[in-house]
């Protein structure tokens, strides 16, 4: 008789395998349940301790306090706007007093200023007359020096020098571009 031949199913081994599988499945389900519970509890705690509601209330209180100061805020805005515009005007203005003073101070004794014109393009046009060509030259040198200082003029152009036999004098026309 061959003992290796067994026509009955191996029930004990099968049951043990089944029991093991059931155990694994049950343990897995418990693990899932545990994870979900932990997450749910954690989220609940975090949500219940969230400061959003108090922050919202605080913000609403601040906004209502600020609403009472709207007039003041409007005044601040208006003051800022006007002071900015006034600064622009003041900074943009050309100081004709100083510029004309500088030019006049450089006119030698023998030279007479004919006209001085500052136009919209910020160009100064000057005419001067003198019986002495040397004085005209000195005046021109002075203007060149002012231009070289780069304080008032960016460019100096001589319009022309002419001699008028009637008055026995020389006349000079110059143009200077203001900085």
């Amino acid at each position: 008789m061959n003992k290796g031949i067994n026509l009955l199913p191996n029930l004990r081994k099968d049951r043990a395998h089944r029991r093991k599988t059931v155990l694994i499945v049950r343990l897995t389900s418990i693990l899932f349940l545990f994870i979900v519970s932990i997450f749910a509890i954690t989220l609940f705690i975090i949500e219940s301790q969230s400061p959003i509601a108090s922050l919202r209330q605080q913000e609403a209180d601040l906004l209502s306090n600020l609403a009472q100061l709207k007039t003041k805020r409007a005044k601040v805005i208006t003051i800022n706007d006007r002071s900015k515009n006034i600064s622009d005007i003041i900074n943009k203005r050309t100081d004709f007093y100083t510029i004309s003073g500088v030019v006049i101070s450089k006119i030698p004794k023998d030279v007479t200023s004919g006209s001085l014109e500052v136009d919209l393009k910020k160009t100064i046009t000057m005419s001067a007359t003198s019986p002495s060509l040397l004085a005209i030259s000195t005046f021109l040198d002075n203007l060149v020096n002012i231009t070289g200082e780069k304080k008032f003029f960016s460019k100096l152009t001589v319009g022309g020098i002419s001699f008028q036999s009637k008055g026995n004098s020389y006349s000079l026309t110059v143009k200077a571009d203001l900085l």
């Binding site: 979900v36 906004l63 600020l66 005044k75 900015k84 600064s87 004309s100």
Partner: protein, 275 residues
């Protein structure tokens, strides 16, 4: 057909008895997966959003606190005084009387005579009221002055410190006269629109220096103008009343929305009276 049904039923019964132990654990796992996917994970994502929202709230509250403490620290009388001087320097309307007053006072101080002059009326008030940030409508004046060059220079110097603020555009000096072109600026009240959660730009040192400079100029001007019924000073009252109306209308305007609903925060928009 009946035998077929019986057969299916018996198969199901066999299957049930065979896998009974698996049903509940698998059901639990299934429900857990559904809970994780549909509730827990979305909740975790919203938790991140809530944290960001909390951060935004805190930032907004900080700004609001700073704005509140800044505004509380400002004195109404100081603001009114500053506003008054700024509105005299840069009027809210075409201040013809103020301009004539400035010219006549400055010419008297400089010892020159004023000849013919012409006014450019400038833009219509409805047009000039719709202004951009740096736009300023103006009144242009051509003026004939009689006097020597030094006196005319003094006129130009004194005019710079007179209100309403003027900008001399061109000067044509003659032997004993000059023709000058001057711009007198004004700026109507613009609609005051601001967002509550924008930080208030506090007055800078430059602003304070400017206001001090204007006060100094005004005090010099007032010394010049001895007559109490000068047109310029007479205009200050109505001009400020106009401003008060605008500021009161700011107070009356409703706050649009709360910042929690809109990330930009409430916008308070008020249109000032267009002149």
């Amino acid at each position: 057909m009946n035998s077929q049904l019986k057969l299916d039923k018996s198969i199901l019964q066999i299957l049930y008895y065979r896998y009974k132990a698996y049903i509940i654990p698998f059901l639990v796992i299934f429900v857990c997966i559904i809970l994780l996917g549909r509730i827990i994970i979305p909740q975790m994502q919203s938790f991140v959003i809530i944290k960001e929202e909390e951060k935004e709230y805190r930032e907004r509250i900080n700004i609001l606190k700073k704005n509140l403490s800044y505004l509380m620290g400002l004195s109404d009388s100081d603001l009114d005084a500053q506003l008054k001087i700024l509105s005299v320097a840069l009027p809210i309307d075409k201040d013809y009387a103020g301009i004539i007053n400035a010219i006549s006072n400055v010419s008297a101080k400089s010892g020159i005579g004023v000849g013919d002059y012409s006014f450019g009326v400038g833009k219509l008030s409805t047009e000039s009221a719709k202004l951009e940030q740096n736009q300023r409508p103006l009144i242009r004046i051509n003026l004939q002055l009689k006097g020597d060059m030094q006196k005319i220079r003094n006129f130009l110097k004194n005019l710079q410190k007179r209100f309403p603020l003027a900008e001399v555009l061109s000067v044509q000096f003659g032997a004993s006269s000059a023709t000058i072109q001057i711009n007198f600026y004004y700026r109507p009240l613009s609609p005051i629109v601001y967002n509550e959660i924008d930080p208030i730009s506090s007055f800078s040192k430059e602003d304070k220096d400017l206001i001090n400079k204007l006060i100094e100029w005004q005090s010099v001007s007032e010394k010049l103008v001895s007559s109490p019924s000068s047109p310029s000073s007479a205009l200050q009252g109505p001009l400020l009343e106009e401003q008060e109306k605008t500021f009161k209308s700011v107070q009356a305007s409703p706050t649009v929305s709360s910042p929690s609903k809109s990330p930009q925060g409430p916008v308070t928009g008020v249109s000032s009276q267009m002149r």
